[in-house]
Amino acid sequence: MDRSTAYNVLGLPQGAGEEEVKTAYKSMAQKYDVENYEAGPLRDDAAQKMNEINEAFDVLMSFLRTGQENTSLNANTGSYSSVGRYPAIRQLINTGRVDEALAELSALQDVSDDAEWNFLMGSVYYYKGWLDQALHYFQNAVRLAPGNREYEAALRNLQNSSQGDMNGNPYMNNDPSAAAMNCACNSCALMCCMDACCGMGRGC
């Protein structure tokens, strides 16, 4: 990644300084944190985006601190270990075969007190977009295995959004991308021209 691409990735103008790079990185890292996408089908997309952001940050910081460009590739491609008693079912969910996963999970006996089973049920429903069901099973999973970070992250995401949280909301906090809200699109410029010429068509 070259420096100019790195600035683009972080949404910064060319030549922005260290503080701006850090602020932009922090806000984007929060926005694309893989935890936000836990158990969902877009997790890999977020992980890829995160890698890009990390790489851009490394490139820019090494340039800003040493004055040299460091274009080496970030080797971290975001692999996840799958732990638990249900690796095969997890694999099905990760490859999008959720109906098969659901059939297998439903066929198991005496598992409703098993935290991992509840988490996987929740994941299946989350993948399908059935969020009430997902919330119910994630709640069970956390109740049965308090302290499991994976389960807690999945539950927390849904609980937060049920309170109205929207990730990356430019109208909240001090998100620097809110500064990019200025309207500089070409169609707007065209509108202004049309307005100047004929008062939005109202009085030529």
């Binding site: 926005k31 694309y32 936000n36 996408y37 969902g40 089908p41 877009l42 997309d45 977020a46 985006k49 429903y125 399908k128 977009g129 059935w130 969020l131 009430d132 069901q133 919330l135 995401n157 849904l158 937060n160 959004s161 049920s162 309170q163 109205g164 949280d165 929207m166 990730n167 990356g168 909301n169 430019p170 109208y171 990019a180 809200m181 200025n182 309207c183 699109c185 070409n186 169609s187 707007c188 065209l190 509108m191 202004c192 049309m194 307005d195 004929c198 939005m200 068509g201 109202r202 030529c204």
Partner: protein, 305 residues
């Protein structure tokens, strides 16, 4: 306000809930949104004949905006008059892929809604819909030829919807799934790449859920009176409980939409889409259960003058 009453009443006005919050828009953003809205009306006329323009509502403006935001296609802007408002000319966007997709989608959706309404409406409305049906038949065939994949999904999901209504489905997640799948298929058409396709499908899925649930919350009393299926009635919730359940469920869906939206690389219209997703959508959810006429002014409605 340019709003032809054809799609109101029993037919759920799809996407009537995913609108910008007008008061928070810059004038240029508002004009640009309206140019897309008027452009969709013109596009419908061009591609599907004058009659289809009566289908226009705020429905698929969002789809047109998203598709054009991803492709970067600006289209042509002309100041024009229109038959609803012939005196004042206003800017309208023309000939973009997004407008074309949105008009296909609108015709497909309207046809299915109309057919559905023919089955379960009162006598007067039935007469009205029967009169309208032949006018939509040819546009529909044309839209099917242009979007065969979407048409197939819609056909299948409408069938699913009828089945779960027949057995009085109580599960909210399940009840809103057919509409969600339809929107997923529609939104996927806006993609430029396979990666975008997956993201847009998921975005559409949750947008469809929100539209369905807000519509069900709004129609609660009317459905109770007419003894029609409504998921909140089927699950035995009172009106306030239904509104609360709809709001909570919609907020969760909106959170998921934000996750999808953040992964899209937009080439234009970002301020408008930010407004729609982060302000308009929550405002629509906050107004759940209220009739359109009771809602606070400034949410969505586009003035014609």
């Amino acid at each position: 306000m340019v709003y032809f009453g054809f799609c109101t009443g029993g037919a759920p006005a799809l996407f009537g809930y995913v609108l910008p919050l007008k008061g928070e828009m810059k004038v240029c953003e508002y004009e640009s949104y309206r140019a897309q809205y008027c452009g969709l009306c013109k596009q419908l006329g061009q591609e599907y004949g004058v009659f289809s323009r009566f289908l226009l509502n705020y429905d698929l403006v969002l789809l047109a905006l998203l598709a054009d935001a991803l492709s970067g296609q600006e289209g042509l802007l002309n100041a024009e008059g229109c038959f609803a408002n012939p005196v004042y000319k206003r800017p309208m966007r023309h000939d973009t892929k997004g407008l074309s997709l949105a008009s296909d989608g609108l015709v497909l959706l309207s046809y299915h809604k109309l057919r559905d309404n023919l089955q379960d409406e009162g006598f007067l409305k039935k007469c009205l819909y029967t009169l309208a049906y032949p006018f939509l038949h040819f546009p529909f065939q044309r839209a099917v030829a242009r979007q065969p994949e979407v048409a197939k999904v819609l056909e299948k999901q409408m069938q699913r919807q009828r089945e779960l209504e027949m057995r009085q489905c109580e599960l909210i997640d399940e009840a809103c799934d057919p509409t969600a799948q339809m929107c997923a298929a529609l939104f996927a058409t806006a993609a430029q790449t396979d990666e975008q396709r997956r993201i847009l499908e998921r975005l559409g899925l949750f947008a469809g859920q929100i539209v369905y649930l807000l519509d069900a919350a709004e129609d609660y009393e009317e459905d109770a009176k007419q003894n029609r299926y409504n998921v909140f009635l089927a699950s035995g919730l009172s009106k306030p409980a239904a509104v609360e359940a709809a709001q909570k469920r919609c907020r969760m869906a909106a959170g998921e939409i934000a996750l999808c939206y953040n992964l899209l690389e937009l080439r234009q219209y970002k301020p408008i889409l930010d407004n729609i997703f982060f302000l308009g959508l929550p405002a629509g959810i906050a107004a759940a259960g209220k009739k359109r006429t009771e809602r606070k002014a400034g949410h969505g409605q586009i003035d014609s003058v």
